[in-house]
């Protein structure tokens, strides 16, 4: 069966202890096709990819490749069959050169010596196919994320892969790098290589994919031709309901005369002379390219990193934070963009995660009170409608959206006067995204100051009342008030083009 398809998965079921991650799903990819796989977090995309990649076998179901049944037992076997896998978290050896990474395990050699000349020539040739402008002798650690990705892709292609799996390849790329990646994908397609593209981002799916398959809760929903549909069709299939307006309404009652936060001439490592203010009732957005210094501004503002100069007022009172604890005690909190490595205590319980910023509130003297800890966690689990099996479970068992809500609950417990959220919905599915956006709007209406930093233009435009654009550590301009917020306006400022 399935002669027409390069790759086919039929009736795949995967049972994990306690959960059914996949239930009788299918996936069909033609030769030279760019095929998107969509679904909320926990829909089973990664599970299927791991089965195809040979990380673990399915409980039931069959895989076909070029018409023949396959059952890869490990990543090496699937590589051998012709399946390349570029993981979201890249897996290169950082201290080796790009060339050595591409030909790892099969370095060309003369006798028992590595033939470096041939190695570098071959590697340069492969890399140049993808328009790489770095030498294959560069150490991987010195490459940017997008360049490292190229190395991974080059590695798979040089192994003669016929199906290349890209797992959320754009999640840490800038817009420019993303465009470059798309060129690479198009070239691969021309060579007849099929691409399986896993992504949350609608514009990308429509930019390069021919077909899209949607999973929901471990079930197959549908496969559609991208040329016949619009993004709402995909979203509807992913969440199983109409979403209505994606973003909450803008603020109706900004109190111009009430400043929650005022920052003057704030300078620090990688940014200079930042001046702005936040009014009561509004959500202030910070846009800019990755690395423009937005997170650094926020961290210095909170006293996490030192500032070199500048003054900060909170509710009209000048503040001098010696460290982050001072800022937290005054009601300022910062939610990191890097949830997994900077935000969560992964193996610790949901409860312990939620009380981590506010141990005093759940203690009497130096003694923790379990009752108070439970109370605090339960309060915010209920208030934020966090879906959990119990507050004693490790937080790693939750989906990205629920993890983010736990972190939000953790900080709401200090009764903040200003919440700064860096990439508030990175790696979070559509449903949870709008819940978090609505929540931020509600907080702003209750008089809490809200600042968001986001690299997703639709998000920063959809959620904020006013947007400040940062370019190379400097305030490049403001949109949303006098100037209308459009993607073009923001990008012009963010890329440093003068008006």
């Amino acid at each position: 069966m399935g002669e027409a398809y390069l790759f086919e998965a039929v009736g795949i079921t995967k049972q994990f202890p306690g959960t059914k991650a996949l239930d009788n799903v299918k996936l069909q990819v033609k030769k030279g096709e760019v095929h998107a796989l969509c679904g909320e977090n926990g829909a089973g995309k990664s599970t299927l990819m791991n089965i195809i990649g040979g990380l673990f076998p399915p409980t039931a179901g069959k895989l076909f490749f070029e018409g023949a049944e396959i059952s890869p037992k490990n990543p090496r076997e699937s590589q051998h069959i012709g399946i390349g896998f570029v993981h979201q978290e890249l897996s290169l050896c950082p201290h080796l050169t790009a060339a050595e990474n591409i030909y790892i395990g099969r370095l060309p050699h003369k006798g028992d010596r590595i033939d470096f000349k041939k190695l570098w020539e071959d590697a340069d040739e492969v890399l140049s196919k993808f328009g790489a402008n770095f030498s294959s002798r560069t150490q991987v650690a010195d490459l940017t994320v997008s360049e490292q990705q190229l190395v991974e892709i080059a590695k798979s292609v040089s192994l003669n892969c016929k199906l290349l799996i890209l797992d959320e390849p754009t999640s840490s790329l800038t817009d420019k790098e993303t465009k470059k990646l798309f060129e690479v994908v198009k070239n691969l397609k021309k060579e007849g290589i099929s691409i399986l593209f896993i992504s949350h981002r609608m514009p990308e799916i429509f930019a390069i994919c021919d077909k899209v398959t949607v999973f929901k809760d471990g079930n197959y929903v549908c496969t559609m031709d991208t040329k016949d549909i619009v993004s709402d069709d995909i979203i509807r299939a992913m969440v199983g309901r109409e979403l209505g307006n994606l973003y909450p309404p803008k603020s109706s009652k900004i109190e111009e005369d009430k400043e929650i936060l005022r920052v003057e001439n704030l300078s620090g490592n990688r940014f200079q002379n930042i001046t702005f203010s936040l009014k009561k009732g509004e959500i202030l957005g910070f846009a800019g390219l990755v690395g423009a210094g937005r997170s650094e501004i926020m961290r210095a503002l909170c006293g996490i990193d030192p500032k070199t100069s500048g003054r900060v007022w909170l509710n009209g009172e000048e503040q001098r934070f010696k460290n982050y604890r001072d800022a937290v005690n005054k009601g300022i909190c910062y939610l990191t963009e890097d949830r997994k490595t900077q935000g969560l205590f992964l193996e610790m319980s949901i409860k312990s995660n939620m009380t981590s910023a506010n141990l005093k509130a759940v203690s009497k003297g130096i003694w923790l009170q379990e009752k108070l800890e439970k109370q605090l966690a339960d309060t915010y689990v209920e208030q934020l409608a966090i879906k959990i099996a119990g507050i004693e479970y490790p937080i790693s068992s939750l989906s990205g959206g629920n993890q983010q809500k736990c972190l939000l609950g953790k900080w709401l417990s200090i009764h903040p006067r200003l919440i700064i959220m860096d990439e508030p919905t990175r790696g979070i599915d559509v449903g949870a995204k709008s819940e978090i956006h609505n929540l931020l709007r509600k907080l702003a209406e209750e008089g809490v100051g809200v600042i968001i930093v986001s690299s997703e233009l639709p998000e920063v435009m959809g959620v904020s009342d006013r947007i400040l654009v940062i370019h190379e550590g400097k305030l490049a301009g403001e949109v949303g008030k006098e100037e209308v917020a459009t993607e073009e306006n923001i990008m012009r400022l963010a890329s440093g083009e003068s008006k």
Binding site: F16, P17, G18, S46, L55, I304, N323, Y324, R325, A327, V328, Y334, T336, D338, T341, Q342, G343, L344, F345, L346, E347, M348, S352, S356, A357, L359, K360, V362, S363, I366, W367, L368, P394, S396, K410
Partner: protein, 333 residues
């Protein structure tokens, strides 16, 4: 129903496994060698558990913090020698102990500052301090043990060699310290921070936890525990020797790991560590009672460590929960 749950929960814990294995080991040895469970032997096990146990508590906390502390044995030797040396120089023994404690605090502070403020890896810093502090002991003694016969007052020696109701003082001190440490670690908010830092230092920093302060306090506390162990050893042996507690750090690490403390930080308990050190010492004593050459001790200790970790791995793998090894080498989601 609720009681049922409690029993279930107890057996699901790592401590229960170690406890069961320890009891089984005792029973088996007792069957082969009926003289095993007599008062003198139990007493000698209690004594041998105590000083290594104090250092094992320290290692347990260091591992929970996500660090390691290799200087415990060196610090014990240093404080033993400093207090003994000063006593021989005519100091009052308590003043001499005070000086040893100050030296211990200094090592702890140095470790803590280098690890937190300078940012050096704990392995390197404490490895250096292990040799440095033992070096102090060698310099003061010029290599040969100093005998303190007749110099140490009775009340000092009582701390290390006396018994209360038949239980050695040394063991009582250890148990009291262990209980306090256990309760603090489980139920106090200051010690909870140690788990946060060990679990994810970056996240701890962004939770407004003073990471540097936590680290410094932990390393000072560990050095203090080792100092106490050294001073008690002086009282116990009546000799100030630079060769005291050689290799104590490996025993202490084994005890902590057998008791379920994770090498990647954020997980561990003093009770488990207590059981770990008891198990190791029971096995050592059993080998003596069974007339097995002492040269087998290291071999068996290593085997127990590997066995404990493997059992934990297999048991947790079956249950579908992350085991210690998975925590050690990163999770696969």
């Amino acid at each position: 129903m609720k009681k049922d749950n409690l029993i279930k929960r107890f057996f699901a814990q790592r401590e229960a496994n170690v406890l069961i294995i320890t009891i089984l080991a005792i029973l088996v040895v007792q069957l082969i060698q009926p003289k095993f469970l007599n008062y003198n032997n139990i007493k000698s096990i209690m004594i041998s558990v105590s000083t290594d146990g104090l250092m094992a508590i320290g290692l347990c906390v260091a591992l929970i913090l996500g660090g390691i502390e290799l200087s415990v044995g060196g610090v014990a030797a240093m404080s033993c020698v400093i207090s003994g040396y000063l006593c021989l120089q005519g100091w009052n023994i308590w003043a001499a102990c005070g000086a040893a404690i100050l030296a211990g605090i200094f090592v702890g502070l140095f470790n803590g500052l280098m690890i937190s403020k300078v940012g050096l890896p704990p392995f390197i810093v404490t490895l250096g301090m292990q040799q440095l502090s033992r070096g102090v002991a060698y310099i003061l003694t010029e290599g040969s043990p100093l005998s303190l016969s007749g110099y140490l007052p009775d009340e000092f020696r009582f701390m290390a060699t006396g018994t209360v109701a038949g239980i050695p003082m040394l063991f009582l001190i250890f148990v009291v310290v262990a209980i306090i440490a256990h309760i603090l670690l489980k139920h106090s908010n200051v010690c909870r921070s140690i788990f946060y830092v060990g679990s994810n230092e970056g996240a701890a920093k962004l939770s407004a936890i003073n990471v540097d302060k936590v680290k410094i306090s932990v390393y000072v506390t560990i050095a203090l525990l080792s100092t106490v162990a050294g001073i008690l050893s002086l009282g116990r042996f009546n000799v100030a020797t630079p060769e005291l507690s050689v290799g104590a750090e490996t025993t202490a690490i084994s005890a902590a790991v057998i008791g379920g403390t994770s090498f990647t930080g954020g997980v561990g308990s003093i009770f488990g560590t207590f059981l770990g050190i008891v198990l190791l010492k029971v096995v050592n004593s059993a080998m003596v009672m069974l007339n097995i050459s002492v040269y087998w001790q290291d071999f068996v200790q290593g085997a127990i460590l590997v066995l404990a970790v493997t059992m934990d791995y297999l048991a947790n793998k079956k249950a579908g929960q992350p085991s210690m090894l998975q925590r050690l080498f990163g999770k696969k989601n």
